[in-house]
Amino acid sequence: MPRFDTLNSAWMVWDGPAPAPEEAVLEYTRELEKFLAEIERRAFRMAQVALRDPDDAMDAVQDAMLKLARNYASRPSAEWRPLFYRILENGIRDLQRRRSVRKRFMAWLPGPKEDPDNEAQDPLENVADASPAIPEVLMQGQAMQQLEVSLRALPARQQEAFMLRNFEGLNVAETATAMGCSEGSVKTHYSRAVHTLREDLGEVW
């Protein structure tokens, strides 16, 4: 390590990285905006499928956007997608955990039982079963609702793997990053999810 008589001489040999210019910050914020605009609606729908509630889904997506922007905006843009979905999946799990704690807590309280998830009024619970005899009447919206109902019945990890791989189009490695597990686990979860969904929805779906 060199020894310096003056700070000036130390400055001459300092080879630390130059501070990020404002242009670089502007550049990645522009790129980040493009990225978020491209994925935000899909992310919202996936959160909505998992959480059943549009407001909760919006909160989860907004939170994931903020965390990505604050903590990872300077990372290479190729890393943003799996990182964003990892943050989002964590947020969804947190919300689900909080809900179940709230539910247990409410169960202990005296008086009329509240329904924090509003499940009794969930219109998806009342979706009519599709008749195999008339597949032509299945509209796109109904088919999607059926898929959502079946997806919600899956274990959380299978649901995540299916949505990230199939809906978002992440490859196995990206999905593993987003889910925080091995690629082998992703393959297993996805395969089980597809098998269950196909059995559940049948040919006419």
């Binding site: 390590m1 060199p2 020894r3 310096f4 008589d5 003056t6 700070l7 000036n8 130390a10 400055w11 300092w14 630390g16 990285p17 501070p19 990020a20 910050v25 502007l26 990645y28 914020t29 980040l32 905006e33 978020l36 605009a37 935000e40 609606r41 899909r42 919202f44 729908r45 549009p54 919006m58 997506v61 907004q62 956007m65 903020l66 990505l68 922007a69 604050r70 903590n71 905006a73 300077s74 195999p132 796109q140 919206g141 088919a143 999607m144 898929l147 199939n166 809906f167 189009g169 597809v194 969904l197 196909r198 059995e199 929805l201 049948g202 040919e203 006419v204 779906w205």
Partner: protein, 136 residues
């Protein structure tokens, strides 16, 4: 007889579910889209006002660096065994002059402090380098 209908092929199942999902995304209402746009704008605002982790450390290092410089300055100024207002170590003289220049409260103190704040990483590194002992 309650026989299950045969399953469609894997590829067509995956394709159909993907198409349905993307159709449902396209069908999102204007109000939801607007809320998503607002959320995105808030995130972009956060990104443009915050800096990468390396630069945000400046906020932590700055007070530490200023304090270290002040303590060192006080030590050199008051701690001399001869009671002189000068550094007796030969090569400490020039370091003292540099510190005095940076920390001067009379002449161009604002510039000096700005310089210290801008280059706090450098001063942190230089301090470590100077304290790491004689040249290899």
């Amino acid at each position: 007889m309650n026989e299950k209908p045969p399953m469609q092929s894997l590829e067509s199942f995956e394709e159909r579910s993907r198409v349905l999902f993307h159709d449902s995304v396209e069908g999102l209402g204007g109000a939801l889209r607007s809320r998503l746009t607002q959320a995105r704008s808030a995130a972009i605002e956060a990104a443009s006002t915050s800096r990468p982790a390396r630069f945000s450390r400046i906020g932590v290092l700055m007070p530490a660096g200023v304090t270290a410089a002040a303590v060192l300055g006080a030590f050199l100024w008051l701690g001399s065994p001869l009671g002189q207002h000068a550094v007796t170590v030969a090569d400490g003289q020039s370091n003292f002059e540099d510190l005095e220049m940076v920390a001067s409260s009379e002449e161009g103190s604002a510039d000096a402090m700005d310089m210290l704040q801008d280059d706090i990483e450098f001063y942190d590194w230089a301090e470590k380098a100077a304290n790491s002992g004689p040249a290899a």
